[in-house]
């Protein structure tokens, strides 16, 4: 394209324009503050707020019910924060942003249920377990061809990408006589939607999630029992450096378990109560 040479800006005008652009860019970061490398627990207590994040699309743990945060995680973190004498604040992030956000110190604690695995233990500090995470399968309620986990041989199974349940599925499928096609989705809802639409034959997830989904749409979904995976657990995670904070959260979770509040929450969200290990278990996967 041709450029008008005679009628372009003078140097002074252009300089002013550049200056204004620089100021505008600077203004964007005006609210910036330097991250503090202080003691994590002392910092939270001083602030009076425990900032947490999760993806509010993981019923029955995390639900955004018309904008109100609900679920087992919400009830539990409120109880834990009360024990610690602080208030909890919650951030809704896509799952792929949750762990990067934790590392970037955007919040103190990830209260999305994270399955304890060997690989993750190297990078994150896990709390004591908050729920059972054993991988299980869900099928269409009218599909009679699947009655036990082994029946997925030769079929297609979907799950959420990057979850330990999908990894467990792949390990389980490798031992079956016929290959299993594994479809990985951005989140579990697409896997459930494809299951309902008949594009896949089963969805993999943790047993509490599937039990809740099947309970919400009983004429569409049903859970395949027993769970096929190795016994695994969900925990919350924090940064490895924030040991004082994780210790305080652990003490609060154990207190909530001991006084029976946890069992009430489990009945409310899972339909039954369950015993959990009192320490961070050695991961089986």
């Amino acid at each position: 394209m041709m450029r008008s040479d005679r009628f372009s800006m003078t140097r002074r005008e252009a300089f002013k324009a550049g200056l204004a652009a620089a100021v505008a860019c600077g203004g964007l970061f005006g609210g910036a503050r330097l991250a503090l490398a202080d003691d994590a627990l002392a910092e939270v207590k001083k602030r009076g707020v425990l900032t947490t994040a999760t993806e509010m699309q993981f019923p029955p743990f995390d639900i955004s019910d018309n904008g109100t945060y609900k679920g087992l995680d919400r009830d539990l973190i409120d109880a834990v924060a009360k024990e610690m004498g602080v208030k909890a604040s919650y951030l809704d992030l896509p799952w792929t942003s949750v762990l990067p956000g934790l590392e970037a110190k955007k919040f103190d604690l990830c209260i999305a249920p994270v399955t304890i695995t060997k690989e993750r233990m190297k990078r994150y500090a896990f709390t004591v377990p908050i729920a059972d995470a054993t991988a299980a399968l869900m099928k269409r309620a009218n599909d009679a061809s699947i009655t036990k986990p082994d029946d997925i041989a030769g079929k297609t199974v979907g799950g959420q990408k990057g979850t330990s349940q999908v990894e467990q599925l792949k390990a389980f499928a490798a031992k079956l006589p016929k290959p299993v096609e594994v479809k990985e989705y951005v989140d579990n809802n697409q896997s459930y939607a494809d299951l309902a639409a008949g594009r896949i034959d089963a969805s993999v997830n943790s047993l509490p999630n599937l039990a809740y989904a099947a309970q919400q749409r009983p004429d569409t979904f049903s859970v395949v029992l027993p769970p096929f995976g190795q016994p695994t657990y969900f925990s919350w995670v924090g940064r490895l450096d924030d040991k004082s904070l994780i210790d305080a959260v652990n003490a609060a979770i154990l207190k909530v378990e001991a006084d029976g509040t946890m069992a009430e929450m489990q009945k409310r969200w899972f339909g039954q109560s369950m015993d959990l290990p009192k320490t961070v278990p050695e991961p089986a996967i």
Binding site: M1, M2, R3, S4, D5, R6, F7, S8, M9, T10, R11, E13, A14, A17, G18, A20, A21, A24, C25, L28, F29, G31, A32, R33, L34, A35, A53, M56, Q57, F58, P59, I63, S64, D65, N66, G67, L91, D92, L93, P94, T96, S97, P100, G101, A104, K105, K106, D187, N188, N189, Q190, Y192, A193, A213, Q216, R217
Partner: protein, 218 residues
């Protein structure tokens, strides 16, 4: 299909649509301001100023908006710069849109026939007046359709700001899908909101085009 799922979530969707509109319009407005400056830089006679403008456009048009948002929100934090989520969202949209808007404006300025500026100069108009009275009014009219196009694209691209934790329309539709296990209804609801917003935007664009016609001719 159960339309009552959409009706039950209507308030939630409306609220999210408000967030989408607010974030997008802030991004568009700031982006227009920066874009005008970048455009001015690009048509500058000074080589280094023009190159600086071109470099801006290359970077912010060449890197996906999602990556820019992740960079501003998460990676700047690694260098001790903690950008709040709303600032990251609006800033990311503005910086990215500025690159496109700069090119739209530059195209419009170049599309005004050269003779117009020469004639104005021959009539004794000062350099600034040539811009103010002759070039800009015509360029603005030419730029309206592509600008509206860009605004609509940006409004839809604003769904990406959910990666920094902003509960905008697409994100909320996903939340509803996961809460109700009814993805079809949730996304149809969200889609209808987008359609309504964009039709309104297109309507304003048509109105602006008519108003900017010479002598207000229809």
């Amino acid at each position: 299909m159960q339309p009552q799922v959409i009706l039950r979530s209507f308030g939630y969707l409306t609220q999210a649509a408000g967030v989408t509109i607010a974030v997008s319009f802030a991004g568009i407005a700031i982006g227009f301001f920066i874009g005008a400056l970048i455009c001015a830089a690009r048509v500058s006679r000074r080589g280094w100023v023009a190159r600086l403008g071109a470099a801006y456009v290359s970077v912010f048009r060449g890197v996906p908006l999602l990556v820019q948002l992740l960079f501003i929100y998460y990676f700047l934090a690694e260098f001790g710069l903690d950008v709040p989520a709303v600032v990251a969202a609006v800033g990311g949209l503005a910086l990215s849109s500025a690159a496109y808007q700069a090119e739209i404006l530059r195209g419009a300025v170049n599309a005004v026939p050269r003779g117009q500026a020469e004639a104005a100069a021959a009539l004794g108009f000062a350099n600034l007046d040539v811009w103010r009275r002759v070039l800009l009014p015509q360029a603005l009219r030419i730029s309206v359709p592509p600008l509206i196009n860009e605004f609509i694209l940006l409004l839809k691209a604003s769904s990406l700001v959910s990666v920094v934790g902003i509960a905008e329309l697409t994100r909320v539709s996903m939340n509803i899908a996961s809460m109700t296990y009814r993805p079809l209804e949730a996304y149809v609801g969200g889609g209808l909101f987008y359609l309504a917003i964009n039709l309104t935007l297109a309507g304003f664009g048509a109105l602006a085009e008519r108003r900017l016609m010479p002598n207000g001719a229809p």
